[in-house]
Assembly symmetry: D2
Homo-oligomer: 339 residues x 4
């Protein structure tokens, strides 16, 4: 691959110290199925950021996390509320419906839900029992368009959920980028306090693989492990997942990696603006959506990979640039120089 890729935040392998840890522990015999020493240590390290001894499960990917959470949490007549841009709506091949549950989609410009949009959805979905019962609210932070929730926003969602007997699930595929965003005032402790269940994305934050599901509502923890197994997520060598999170949380690498991704995005973003290009929205985390002339894009495309998001007008397109823990600052400079 000669071109440098800004396509996504999972083009490289992982943080070097993860590989080192895998090397040094490789021949140690360990219990299977997530009961190994490294998974247990990872749980302790993550809990240091939280205010409770919450159950934590590690699974291989985000869709799997969402499948397991929906399947273990909901009865068959219960539905999910999600923004129409939500990952479970448009990028999981109907995985949630395949577990039997309806997703009620809510139009959203910035990828976020609000108390108003939830209340509106509840009012529109109240003709019981002819309608599925809304029971769980799904949000992503950062959202699929790179925006991040403020503490006040998440608190307001938490209040509306509690007062309507709705569970709140936060998909944290890019939670690192969200929490370390300049405009964010949220902590992991806040997330744990304000949601019923959430997951911390490792794959996009420097791990090879793995997401950590944190169950803060004790009712949701009951027999959760059966669902991990039933959906095919119980790895024989759970140590692989445990080691990823041990290393990410041992020296706060998770946050450092995410900060680097955001910093690179800010640099790219600033470079674009300085060179006269417009963004379709302020860059809040590690995704940048820029409007650029097609002829320039053709040239850039010889040296860089990026995702052409959509046509903007006859001469311009919107592109998406994604940065990560692995983004090379020199390449960012080269990109800016090239525009």
């Amino acid at each position: 691959m000669e071109k440098y890729s800004f396509l996504d935040d999972y083009s490289e392998g992982c943080q070097a110290n993860i590989l080192e840890a895998m090397q040094s522990t490789n021949m140690a015999q360990q219990s299977a199925y997530g009961n190994d020493d490294y998974s247990n240590l990872a749980r302790r390290l993550i809990r240091k950021h939280l205010d409770g001894d919450f159950p934590i499960y590690f699974v291989a990917g985000g869709t799997l996390a969402n499948i397991i959470i929906m399947s273990s949490t909901l009865k068959s007549h219960e539905a999910v509320i999600a923004a129409d841009s939500g990952h479970i709506v448009v990028r999981e091949t109907g995985a949630i419906e395949a577990t039997g549950h309806k997703i009620i989609t809510v139009p959203s410009d910035d990828g976020k839900l609000t108390p108003e949009s939830i209340e509106h959805t509840l009012a529109d979905n109240a003709h019981f029992p002819h309608m599925a019962k809304p029971r769980l609210v799904y949000i992503s932070n950062a959202t699929e368009t790179g925006t991040v929730y403020a503490k006040s926003e998440l608190s307001a969602l938490s209040v509306i959920c509690k007062s309507n007997d709705l569970l709140l699930l936060l998909d944290g595929a890019r939670l690192g980028a969200a929490l370390t965003a300049n405009i964010s005032d949220l902590t992991l402790k806040d997330i744990a306090e304000l949601t019923d269940i959430f997951w911390i994305g490792g794959t996009k934050a420097g791990a090879l693989i793995g997401e950590a599901i944190v169950i803060t509502n004790p009712k949701l923890a009951i027999e959760f492990d059966f669902h991990i197994k039933q959906r095919g997520a119980l790895l024989a060598k759970g140590r692989l997942l445990g080691l990823q999170f041990t290393e990410l949380f041992k020296d706060d690498l998770f946050f450092k990696n995410s900060r680097h991704a955001n910093l690179m995005a800010q640099k790219l973003s600033a470079g674009l603006i300085k060179n006269g290009h417009r963004l379709i929205a302020e860059t809040q985390s590690n995704q940048i959506f820029a409007i650029m002339p097609n002829d320039l894009l053709a040239k850039l495309n010889k040296r860089f990979s990026f995702y052409v998001w959509r046509k903007y007008n006859e001469t311009d397109s919107v592109i998406r640039l994604v940065t990560s823990w692995a983004t090379d600052e020199n390449k960012v400079s080269e990109f800016i120089a090239a525009i």
Copy 2:
């Protein structure tokens, strides 16, 4: 019940001749599970309106029909396209999702789909395999808001479906009212030719119970009976369903009943307009949506039942009036006199 009800088209029992047929055949021993003489006769009578020896199955209700059709037709990664007002979207408690299939909803003002809206949906749902694959288009005729498809409209949908390898399902809960609507130029034969599978609603057309599923695409007929049984729709005394359709189709009662319903709706509609009330849409079949003052509604509500659809403004509401095969013309006159 002292008030006269315009709430729905299933408040009464059934056509008198159905009860007579049930009486006269009651003690005849018959084969079970839909292999009885009456079901077979009903199939022959319905096929007289069609251009082929299509398999026909009778089931107890519309949601059951839709469940069976989706479940037998689709593989787990295949999705349904439907108008956001579709019965499967907003009045079946997530029944389709409970069979594992995603419904992709399309905004629609009049309850109909168009080639444009389908093409737009296909374009938005093409990021494979990260998105479920659209495979079946669900339409209702009459629609949930009482509109009916013209032959040209249905033909256009048929063309777009065929050219995109999409199956076309027509939910005919109120197919009688649609086909006998003044503005309709469609016949059962047309429906059979233009769709892959459709069902003829008996319950709202004078039967006690029962919908007839007609499979016009031979690929969809393979092992269909397993799904009838698996979803709990194989009645031991299938004769009950057979007799309903024998009587409805013996002397075209199905169409006569539906015409009466439409005529009553036209009369109500004309009376409303004559008395200065507005409709939110032209009355095309047996549902009327009228804007009326709340104080008048309060008075009317002492003598008539109807569904308050939604608030229109501070002083007015939109109500829904439904007529049927059983609607008493005198009561229609009384209603008009009362406004």
Copy 3:
């Protein structure tokens, strides 16, 4: 049909008074979806046989009842325990598995479960979370082979279920025949006390259609109606189901019908034995399993229909004869005369 059929207990229509009731109430406008006067009256009439104000729902058939009960009661990791002859195991086309639940089958010679067989099954299915968790015990009374439970047997099952946190479901497709069997000492009140949920079969006891689900464990009643709708069982004209049970329970016709079926079975059974034929098991309810010579069967088959259950040896077969509320005593005499 010239031959007289002993094939099943659903070859005829229904008790005459049901048709009369349908006639006399036909044009009365009624609320839809099971909220009609007749359904409410039927609930009151059934509750007279019970010791509590239990929720009662009417559905069109037995497989539908089982689907709804499993789907509303179980979470996706929970399994059902059933005899290997159970209707849900061998005659419902995988309907329970289609709702996502495993059935753990227990070998049973007489169609019954015992505390020992349940305990054994629990011991064999305890490797959690690698195995589905047994949560509901399914029994039929009468069983699929015509045997009936004694009160002591059902009480023992109830005890073992309660002490192992298992729900007990009784499939009563032939509950009338079971309760009125000579050897039965159970009442509807007992059934309600000893199970968590059960259903009373109408179809095989003189109704056209319909089973009544009685929920005695209040936890199972929560939001049960959503599942009725989601599985396609919420009939618009619920009055049809309500009227069946009103008539069956108004003058204890349910029990009279069932007694007639059992009496006819006893008469057939005695006639067979008197004529030197053996039964493979004592006739306890309305099903007879007799060993008969193939050449005699060939002759009988010209005048009577029956089910050849299986080969017995080179010269003999086991046949099944079923009697019902509608069985003509003269035909029973003719059959006996013919052997």
Copy 4:
């Protein structure tokens, strides 16, 4: 961990060269979702052992492989035939049923299916459409009890499946141990020829994670990738899976590892017999089932971990010992010395 474990074949990490390959490729930018260079190379390396350009997909674990295969292959009324000891029957928490499919279990003493047991099952499951339709036969090689199929046995299964329109799936969680067993005369090429779909287990053969699904029946390959995604198995960093199989198949390490496991099992097995202990079955692959006195087990248990499979009699138990690519021959010697 001071005790040496014979509990399973997944207690250690992975072959050293896999870690080396991960190191050396770590920062190379790669396409996501299994389209990376290493996955493509792994496919080519595996295909060298096969006779066709078969599609190959890598997934994280065996239950996930089985879920995806069933879900993509079967329609909802189709059932699976499996031995009652099958992994999908007793160790996957109802995962297959959770996708909606019935498993028809076949009693089996040695974990294998035979043409006779399949024919018997077909005969017992032919009352259509009241029974689910058998459509796929699931076998494991090595079986869950360590036995392995001979080529003649697999050929006979293939014939019976083809002649009954049944698909044949081979679960190869321990395929390496099976193919390198002394008594095995099967090759990967044979497996590909005789089955419709099979998977090669990496996890138990020296990989950290990963199973390779090989689709030999082209009909099963259609839109298979949607199911990989829908069930949560499409890893962003598919390179992780690709690298495992690249290394396992580059220098036939897969076979060498498996041979080592079998050799260690033979050594253990011989040592047990030499010391007067009985096996409940001949050791064919890398699992040993031995009958040993409880007092000796208590002593052994201070130095070694193993699985007590079941009680044998008052004084003896059956234990399971598992060897692997990582088994230390010195520890095997120590174990034998200790008995």
